[in-house]
């Protein structure tokens, strides 16, 4: 025998279950996070535990990233770029292909490195164990870490020797895939499409300016730069070029990008010697 209350509650639960996939950008609650409180992270030999990071998060992270990890902390109105929404599980700095979750190591590195040109500082004050715990805590905000596995990191071949030919070939790649559409022919972030760029949430966002001397957001080594355009910066207009730039060409492009940067480098002085001109967007394809 079923009472009226039982039937009612049964109906409500059925409705709730059916409506679940239709809610838009769901705001999750503490109860959802509680189910994932045993989330772990694995970085080398370290195992991070989400529950051990609670105090650190509340003390150091919550003002921007918020109680619910949705990036809506009390500093939200005052910072730009906006704090990351951990519930969506979408991250810029990854070693994994576009549309996949980053590895624990990627998040661990981001916490240590900080994000240049944003309010996210370097958290080198944390011990490695504390950082590993925070990675697990960041993951416990999104159900994606239960339903999906991180992507397989892209393969980066060993870095070849820089040559004049490679720098010139890198310039050809820059012209062919039209990096200048946003970044500009001199890397000054003033390409024809730069002014209208928006992130995935419709907020204005600037292309990276190679010439102003700030470090690239996801690390300053050549491998870090290689990774940026081969994985894309998810959540931003920067796409992945993995299907359209071969691994060898990717190294050429890294060398050419170095010539645009303000910092002195071997590539920069070689380009100067060569008298390398910026690409010409109006020239026919292949002669830029």
């Amino acid at each position: 025998m079923r009472t009226r209350l039982q039937t009612w509650s049964l109906l409500m639960s059925a409705t709730a279950v059916l409506a679940l996939p239709m809610t838009s950008f769901a705001q999750l609650t503490q109860a959802d996070f509680e189910t994932r409180i045993n989330m772990e992270s694995h970085i080398g030999n370290l195992t991070g535990h989400a529950k051990d990071a609670k105090a650190d998060y509340r003390r150091y992270c919550v003002s921007c990233h918020g109680d619910n990890g949705d990036g809506n902390g009390e500093s939200f109105p005052w910072v730009d770029p906006k704090p990351r929404d951990f519930q969506l599980g979408i991250f810029k700095c990854r070693s994994t292909p576009t549309g996949t979750l980053p590895t624990d190591q990627d998040l661990f590195d981001t916490i240590a490195r900080g994000l240049d040109r944003s309010n996210m500082p370097q958290w080198s004050t944390f011990t490695k164990q504390e950082r590993a715990d925070l990675v697990a805590w960041v993951k416990h905000f999104s159900p994606r870490w239960v339903n999906e596995k991180p992507g397989t990191p892209i393969t980066i071949p060993p870095e070849p020797e820089v040559t004049a030919e490679r720098i010139k070939a890198g310039r050809d790649v820059f012209a062919r895939v039209q990096c200048w559409k946003c970044h500009g022919v001199l890397g000054q972030a003033n390409g024809p499409s730069a002014a209208t760029l928006q992130d995935d949430l419709g907020r204005p966002i600037a292309a990276y300016n190679f010439t102003e001397g700030s470090r690239p957001k996801c690390g300053d080594t050549n491998r870090d730069i290689y990774r940026i355009f081969m994985t894309g910066l998810d959540g931003t207009p920067m796409p992945s070029f993995a299907d359209n730039i071969k691994p060898d060409e990717a190294w050429d492009l890294v060398f050419y990008l170095r010539t645009l940067m303000r910092q002195n480098s071997k590539e920069k002085s070689m380009a100067k010697q060569l008298g390398l001109k910026p690409v010409d967007p109006n020239a026919p394809a292949g002669q830029q």
Partner: protein, 243 residues
Amino acid sequence: MNRYHYSAVLSALVLVGCAALFLGQHVNAAGEGKITGTVKLDGTAPHMKGIDMSKDPYCSKAHESSPGHLETYVVGAGGGLENVVLYISDWTGAATTSTAIPIFDQKNCMYTPHVLAMDVGQTFKVVTSDATTHNIHPLPNPMTGNIPWNQSQPPGAAPVEKSWKAVEVIPVKCNIHPWMNGWYVVVKGPYATTDANGNYTIENVPPGSYTVTAWHEPDEKQTQKVTVAAGAPAKADFTFKAK
């Protein structure tokens, strides 16, 4: 209390599951019919603003003789409304009913088609016919199980093949050409999209009673109940109001 709620949810799931199984068997066992009709726009079609493509000379040149304009309402002869997706919203059969690979082309710095309907799990192909670089950037809600991605397609790029895991209406855009916008309408079961005159036919529908839903961007929906019999197509016409 908690345990009680838990059991209520479980029993609801089991009930829904049983119903799905039962209906699924019912429709799969029968022969095939179809649903046809016309979708019209009531009232004067709103003016569709022209698009300034001067930012990219390739794009503006491609539209020299026929200027590009927004495609929110594409109305044909007699008020027929194009780009309306029709699907069976109470479909309980298998998800993928077609092995066809729908194509989404980037042509003259616009999306062709503007609206691409597809089944959950159905492979679709993104191609480019343009001599300018595009980035193809669908924006699903990751909470549904559909994960956003962002890939470049420079001139001559190979097609990108993808599929979606969950039912959702997904906006697509190109960040390089901010006027480019399109839609992936991911549904479950048979579907159709209206042609230039607003006509459609949903093929391969087994006899039975269904709810047909008509979707028009960005989130307008209408439904009708139809009964499909073998050899006699069901008819369902819809009218959207001009906004």
